[in-house]
Amino acid sequence: MSVKIRNDKQGRKTTATIYGDLDHHTAKYIRSEIDRAIGEHNTKTLIIDFSNVTFMDSSGIGLVMGRYKLISELSGEVQIANPPPYIRKVIQLSGINKLCRIITLDCEDKPDDTEEKDTADKTIITKEQDHETENSQRA
């Protein structure tokens, strides 16, 4: 599990891309990384990118709801990007999609592992906690 954070200073936009499983065990770390970025960059728009999340339970809903409360106090918004089908079901069940817009990030908007050429002020924070990766797509 890891989280990569990219900050776009001009738009006060923070994109957090989560990799791996999002459960009670991993949520604590992801939460602290995102909250630190929000504090440091005075974030108004937080995009949580789920394209690389391999598993999520209600702990993930708690994480989104908590960030929603935080960002709402700063009159900002939280967006949920690219949730895979098995995560979409949990999101819809929770109703969190009524508070946070579900968006599609295309490849150009997505922070990737390669060096970015654009001028946006960006920081990447990453920490591998778990080297074993599981692909829930495979049964």
Binding site: D21, D23, H24, H25, A27, R31, F55, M56, D57, S58, S59, I61, G62, L63, M65, G66, P85, Y86, K89, V90, L93, S94, E134, S136, Q137, R138, A139
Partner: protein, 149 residues
């Protein structure tokens, strides 16, 4: 309809959050013999994760205890999962199962664990006694095959 147990898994592990992932992978590994559909398997994994997390977060709050898990496969492709703890118990099960009800809002719990288990599994039964512990039984019949061979 008569149904026969064709395989069974029993295990126990301490209530460490590291075991949340392990427990759902164990169930998913055990059920792979049924060649389940990806969506059904991910629903089962999510339900297991909810029940196990509840033991860790609520039942054994501030302590560590054992979590008991039992999985049965029936010849009808029915999967039976029992997750049991010897923790604090639930005083009002009906209330606890209401969507958005949580006793730990300050820990960013959403109160959706039981709602997820109910919606992702065919059946759920909860038994609990104060200071004795809680048992969650869930069942789901897989659509993949006509029966186990």
């Amino acid at each position: 309809m008569k149904q026969k147990i064709v395989n069974e898994l029993k295990m126990s592990f301490p209530s460490l959050s590291e075991n949340e992932r392990f427990s759902r992978l164990a169930v998913s590994g055990f059920l792979s013999q049924l060649n389940p559909r990806i969506d059904e398997l991910s629903e089962i994994k999510t339900a297991v994760s909810e029940a196990v997390t509840n033991c860790i977060v609520h039942a054994y709050r501030n302590t560590t205890g054992l979590i008991f898990m039992q999985v049965r496969i029936f010849d009808t492709s029915k999967v039976y999962i029992k997750i049991r703890d010897k923790g604090c118990g639930i005083t009002d099960i009906k209330k606890a199962m209401e969507p958005l009800f949580t006793t730990a809002p300050e820990e960013e719990r959403a109160g959706l664990g039981f709602a997820v288990m109910e919606s992702f599994m065919d059946r759920i039964k909860v038994r609990s006694a104060s200071d004795k512990g809680t048992t969650v039984i869930m069942e789901k019949t897989l659509k993949t095959r006509e029966g186990f061979v």
